[in-house]
C-alpha cells in the first residue's frame, strides 16, 4: 500500500526537486487541453445554436494517445528504474515486501496515474458538455450511456499502456534508454502494422494490428459502438471489435506477467 502511494508520488516527482515534476505535470496538462478547448468552444457557440463537436468522446483517446505514451515513457522508468539504479531495490526486497507485491504495486500506481490522464479529460468533457447545454438534466438523461464506454475505455487504455511501459522499463534500468525503448516499441509496432496493411495481403497482415497500439483504438471504438473511419487500418482489417478487446487484455496480462517474472528473478 505504501509502495503504491510512493509510486503515485514519485510518478509526479513529489518530494523531489522541481525538475522532476515538470515533465509529468506538463504532459498531464496537455492531455486535458483538447477537452478544455471543446468545452470552451462549446460554451462560445452554444448561443449561436450551432452544434460544434471538435473532440468527441470516442475519438478523444486517439487524439491524446501520443501524450499518453510519452507520459508513460517518462513515468514508468521513474517508477521501476530508479530503485534499480539507486540499488535501493535490495532494501525493499530485504523487507517484508514480496517481489510479486512490489511489481503489482508499481503497476497499480502507474495505471492509476494513467487514469488521471485518460479518465480525467473525458470526465471534464462529459461534465463540460453537460454544463454548456442549457438543460443539464436532459443532457444527463440522453448521454448517461456514454459513461460505461468512457470508463471501460479509460481503464483499458491505461492498463494496456502501463502494462507495456512497465514491462519494458523493468528490464531497462537506465532511464533514457527505457524512455526511448517505450516510445520506440509503440511507434515501431504501429508503423509495422501500418506498412504491412499497405503492402502485404490483408488477411495475413491484419494480425499485425493485434500486437500494435491500434488494438486500443479498435477496442475503444467497439466500446463506444462507433464505426471506424473508412480507409483506416481498422476498417480494412475488419475484425470484430471484441477481437481487439481480447487482444488488449491478453497484452495486459502478458506484460504484467513479464514484469512479475522480471522482479522475481532479479538479483537484488
Amino acid at each position: 500500500m505504501t509502495l503504491y502511494a510512493g509510486g503515485l508520488r514519485s510518478a509526479f516527482g513529489l518530494g523531489r526537486r522541481t525538475s522532476a515534476k515538470v515533465i509529468p505535470f506538463a504532459l498531464a496538462v496537455l492531455a486535458f487541453v483538447p477537452a478544455l478547448v471543446q468545452v470552451a468552444v462549446g460554451a462560445l457557440t452554444s448561443r449561436l445554436d450551432a452544434d460544434v463537436d471538435l473532440f468527441a468522446h470516442e475519438d478523444y483517446f486517439g487524439y491524446v494517445q501520443i501524450i499518453l505514451i510519452l507520459f508513460c515513457a517518462a513515468v514508468a522508468p521513474e517508477l521501476v528504474g530508479r530503485d534499480q539504479r539507486d540499488r535501493s531495490i535490495s532494501l525493499y526486497f530485504s523487507r517484508a515486501v514480496s517481489r510479486v507485491d512490489y511489481a503489482l504495486a508499481k503497476l497499480a500506481a502507474l495505471v492509476s496515474v494513467m487514469l488521471v490522464l485518460t479518465l480525467g479529460p473525458q470526465m471534464l468533457l462529459f461534465v463540460g458538455n453537460g454544463m454548456v447545454e442549457d438543460d443539464l438534466d436532459g443532457y444527463l438523461r440522453d448521454s448517461w450511456d456514454l459513461l460505461p464506454p468512457i470508463l471501460a475505455g479509460a481503464l483499458f487504455l491505461s492498463a494496456a499502456i502501463a502494462g507495456v511501459g512497465l514491462a519494458i522499463a523493468s528490464f531497462v534500468p537506465r532511464r533514457a534508454y527505457a524512455t526511448a525503448a517505450i516510445v520506440g516499441v509503440f511507434v515501431l509496432t504501429t508503423s509495422v502494422a501500418g506498412i504491412l496493411m499497405e503492402t502485404a495481403d490483408v488477411s495475413f497482415a491484419r494480425y499485425a494490428l493485434l500486437v500494435s497500439p491500434l488494438v486500443w483504438e479498435g477496442a475503444i471504438l467497439w466500446f463506444f459502438g462507433a464505426r471506424p473511419d473508412p480507409g483506416s487500418e481498422i476498417r480494412d482489417a475488419d475484425f470484430h471489435g471484441a477481437v481487439y478487446a481480447v487482444a488488449g487484455v491478453v497484452t495486459i496480462l502478458a506484460t504484467t506477467a513479464l514484469t512479475i517474472v522480471r522482479f522475481r528473478r532479479m538479483q537484488a
Partner: protein, 306 residues
C-alpha cells in the same frame, strides 16, 4: 532457540563455491563476521535476508526458515547493504520515513521513529536536504538509520565502515556498539578487518572460502584475562623469583616479565614484590593477544576497497 542457525548451507555461483556446507549456531548478541574479501560474508547475509536462494542446505533466523517464512523473518530484521542504496534526490527524512512505512509503520509513527532514529545516528539539520550533498559518512549513517527505523530484533550490517576515513570509521563503530549495548538489538556485522570486530563485538565468527573457521566468544580468542606484562626499572629476575615463591608462575625477560594473572591478588603480589625489592614499576599491561595474531595466516588483512 538460537538467533541464527544454518545447516549445510551452500551457495554456488557457477564454478565458484561461495558457501561450502556452512553450519552455524549463534545466540543473540553482537556478532562479528570476519573473512577476507570473497570469503562468503555478503553471500551469507544475503541468504539470511532471502535476497539469494541457497543452492543447498537451510538457514533459520529466530527459528524461522528464511526461504519458506521469508516475509515473517524480514519483518524482524534490518539490513544495511555494503553497496550504495540511497536515492540521492530525496532527503534523508523523506527516505527513512518511506522505508519505515514500507515496514508497515503508520504515518505518524513512521515520522516519529524517523526523527528519533536520525537523531540517534547523529544527523540533524542536514536531514531535510537532498542526500546528493551528503558525505560518505553521512550516507553510511542514513543507510544504518533505514535499517534501524522499524525497531528490528536483528540488524545485519554488511561492511558498515566501508569507504570511511579513520575518524568516520571510529564514529561508525561507536554507533554500532551503542546500538548493540544500549538498544539491546542483536547484530551481525561483517568486516574484513579484525580490529573493527574486536572493538565492537562479543562473538566472533570467522569464515574463509565459504567454510567456518571458528565461532566463539571474543574473550576466548583473545584470552583477555590471562597474560600480563610487567616492566620494571631493575632486575626482572628478582621479581620473578619473589612471585614464584608465592606460587605465581612468571617468565622473565631482561626488564620485563610475563605472568598469568587470575585475580586481583596476583596484582597485589606484583605490587608488594616490587615494593619489597625496591623496584620501580614502569608499566603493568594486559598483554592481550590481538585477534590479528591468531588469524594472520587464515585471514590476511586487505586494504578496504574505496
Amino acid at each position: 532457540m538460537s538467533l541464527i542457525a544454518t545447516r549445510g548451507l551452500t551457495k554456488r555461483y557457477g564454478d565458484v563455491l561461495a558457501l561450502d556446507a556452512l553450519d552455524l549456531e549463534l545466540e543473540p548478541g553482537v556478532i562479528g563476521l570476519v573473512g577476507a574479501n570473497g570469503a562468503g560474508k555478503s553471500t551469507l547475509i544475503r541468504i539470511l535476508l532471502g535476497l539469494l536462494q541457497p543452492t543447498a542446505g537451510s538457514a533459520q533466523l529466530f527459528g524461522l526458515d528464511v526461504v519458506s517464512d521469508g516475509l515473517a523473518v524480514r519483518r524482524r530484521v534490518g539490513y544495511m547493504p555494503e553497496h550504495d542504496c540511497l536515492p540521492l534526490d530525496v532527503s534523508a527524512t523523506e527516505f527513512v520515513a518511506h522505508m519505515a512505512r514500507i515496514n508497515g509503520l503508520p504515518k505518524s509513527a513512521a515520522r516519529e521513529r524517523t526523527a528519533e532514529t536520525l537523531r540517534h545516528i547523529g544527523l540533524f539539520e542536514e536531514r531535510y536536504r537532498e542526500m546528493r550533498g551528503y558525505s560518505t559518512g553521512m550516507r553510511q549513517r542514513v543507510k544504518l538509520a533505514q535499517a534501524l527505523v522499524h525497531d528490528p530484533e536483528l540488524l545485519l550490517l554488511d561492511e558498515p565502515t566501508n569507504g570511511l576515513d579513520p575518524a568516520g570509521r571510529d564514529d561508525m563503530l561507536d554507533l554500532v556498539r551503542r546500538i548493540g549495548t544500549e538498544f539491546g538489538i542483536s547484530l551481525l556485522m561483517s568486516s574484513h578487518l579484525l580490529s573493527e570486530i574486536e572493538r565492537v563485538c562479543d562473538h566472533l565468527v570467522v569464515i574463509d572460502t565459504g567454510r567456518l573457521v571458528q565461532s566463539d566468544r571474543i574473550v576466548a580468542f583473545t584470552g583477555r584475562t590471562e597474560v600480563v606484562t610487567v616492566e620494571v626499572d631493575g632486575s626482572a629476575a628478582m621479581l620473578a623469583a619473589y612471585l614464584r615463591e608465592r606460587g605465581i608462575e612468571a617468565h622473565e625477560g631482561r626488564r620485563t616479565l610475563e605472568l598469568h594473572l587470575a585475580d586481583a591478588a596476583s596484582y597485589d603480589a606484583v605490587r608488594d614484590g616490587a615494593a619489597a625489592l625496591g623496584l620501580g614499576l614502569v608499566r603493568v599491561e594486559q598483554g592481550r593477544r590481538r585477534l590479528e595474531d591468531l588469524f594472520r595466516d587464515e585471514a590476511p588483512e586487505e586494504p578496504a576497497p574505496v
